[in-house]
């Protein structure tokens, strides 16, 4: 976490425990206007009607998400090949994945992995001991089941 310190009036009594700032407030993006999808509040529309079709979709999505999470569990510690944008392929050992639950990831794609933590990332520039791959950059990844 970033520790941001400001010049304040010098303390004359016991020093309070410094408070860390998780991040700085986000500023305007290049669009100038904002109010885009990423900053939209959920509209106060009435909740969608629950039907058998929507229940089926719900079950299917839950099953797919479960399989994805099981896949991540199985891939942990394995040598994984990542296919990135523009057909770039890199190999690394998967450490962990950040997969937000519910709406934490934002938008309707709440099941996507936000980032992958990897070790021994092989790149054209050399081997990176540890690295973070952005979820948005990863098109696909694959690994041998049961192999190390």
């Amino acid at each position: 976490m970033a520790n941001v310190r400001e010049a304040n009036t010098p303390p004359t009594g016991p020093m309070a425990v410094p408070v860390s700032v998780l991040r700085l407030p986000r500023g305007p993006d290049g669009s100038g206007r904002g109010f885009g999808p990423s900053t939209q509040r959920p509209r106060r529309d009435p909740p969608p009607e629950v039907t058998e079709a929507t229940r089926a979709i719900q079950r299917a999505r839950a099953a797919l998400r479960r399989r994805f999470l099981l896949c991540l569990v199985a891939a942990r510690g394995q040598r994984v090949t990542f296919v990135l944008c523009q057909r770039v392929r890199v190999n690394a050992v998967l450490g962990a994945a950040w997969v937000p639950g519910g709406t934490e990831g934002g938008g309707s794609d709440g099941g996507a992995a936000v980032a992958f933590q990897v070790d021994a990332l092989q790149t054209p520039l050399g081997v990176q001991k540890a690295a973070l791959l952005r979820g948005g950059d990863v098109v696909a990844f694959g690994f041998q089941v049961g192999g190390k």
Binding site: E6, N8, S20, V21, L22, G32, G101, G110
Partner: protein
């Protein structure tokens, strides 16, 4: 006791920030609007300062800005002789209300159906927002430009401040009920509905008056000229800022100075407590807004209190990977992360 504090600095404006206002607490949190001489008022998430959008349309400095209670509408007052009403969700301009001079202040009624404006033409105007083309009700009586105009007493009365007076008006009769002469130029005014308290600043004075009788309740003197002050919702303390670039926090009951903070690089023009009282925002000549914690050291919004001996434990926890391959652990992972077609109702953030 002097303390350290890490404010959250919100950048984006390119000129001095002259006014700011919070919405009420909504199911989506609370929001903050800032008025700026760059003509581009901005909407931000209130507890983090994250920029949401900029209301584009004014052709001059924006002197006043406000949000309605549920943050669905915004209103701005500008030097282009207009007040504008905006959709605060989409950022779209809804209504433009032409005036005959610079508009300085805007305020919604609690039901958002009426907008009060005041400005350099010395007139108060009340617009029915369901009929924006209709002529507004006009209240005259001020002898100098109006700096601030606010609804009070459940929107039955109006409080307005010009250079040297504060006036109380009755909405139904459109007549003046009471007037208060102020020794020096009024720099700011805030109305606190709970308790009917009026906070006004002039010179180095922060004064508290009854909003019903305009009689003074108490006043404090600051070390420097104060431009704005705000009373905590629980009335435990107040904050003030002004020409010496510093923010001061006082005990409302005793007047004792509790804390003071430097941080801005220019005079502070406006300061307001958030609706939950957990933080206060300041706007400055330096073009920034800063969010300050009311209780320093609390975990809230983007602030996280970290005790030094817990830091190593936190760092170790951050490196924790997915659970092992035992079937029950897999079930745990799947159930904790089960997806839902429908988003759950967002928690009230504040």
């Amino acid at each position: 006791m002097a303390m350290r504090q890490t404010p959250l600095t919100c950048s984006g404006h390119t000129r001095p920030v002259v006014d700011l206002a919070f919405s009420g607490v909504t199911p989506y949190g609370y929001f903050l609007i800032s008025a700026c001489k760059d003509g581009k008022p901005m909407l931000r998430q209130g507890d983090t300062g994250d920029w949401i959008g900029t209301f584009l349309g004014h052709k001059g400095a924006v002197w006043g800005a406000t949000l309605n209670k549920d943050a669905t509408k915004a209103a701005t007052a500008a030097a282009d002789f207009t007040a504008k009403v905006w959709d605060a969700v989409s950022g779209d301009e809804l209504i433009t209300l032409a005036h005959k001079h610079i508009v300085k202040s805007v305020d919604f009624t609690q039901d958002s159906n009426y907008l009060l404006t005041g400005g350099q033409d010395k007139l108060l105007r009340i617009y029915d927002l369901s009929k924006p083309e209709a002529e507004p009700d006009v209240v005259s009586g001020h002898t100098s430009g109006i700096k601030k105009a606010l609804w009070s007493s459940d929107d039955k009365q109006i409080l307005s401040a010009d250079d040297k007076t504060v006036r109380l008006w009755d909405r139904s009769t459109m007549t003046e009920v009471k007037a208060l002469n102020v020794a020096m130029s009024v720099s700011s005014m805030e109305y606190v509905p709970e308790g009917q308290i009026l906070v006004i600043t002039y010179g180095k004075t922060i004064a508290f008056h009854s909003a019903e009788t305009l009689e003074q309740i108490k006043s404090f003197e600051a070390p420097a000229t104060i431009n704005s002050a705000s009373l905590h919702p629980e009335k435990e303390c107040l904050v003030a800022g002004g020409e010496d670039f510093k923010l001061y926090k006082y005990d409302y009951n005793t007047g004792e100075e509790l804390e003071s903070y430097k941080g801005h690089f220019g005079p502070i023009h406006c300061v307001r407590f958030s609706p939950d009282g957990e933080l206060y925002a300041s706007g400055s000549e330096d073009g920034t807004l800063r969010l300050w914690q009311t209780t320093v050291g609390k975990t809230y919004g983007l602030w996280k209190c970290v005790v030094p001996e817990e830091e190593n434990a936190e760092a170790a926890k951050a490196r924790t990977t997915l659970p092992g391959t035992a079937e029950e652990e897999i079930e745990e992972v799947a159930s904790e992360n089960s997806d839902s077609v429908y988003s759950s109702t967002p928690e009230v953030k504040a």
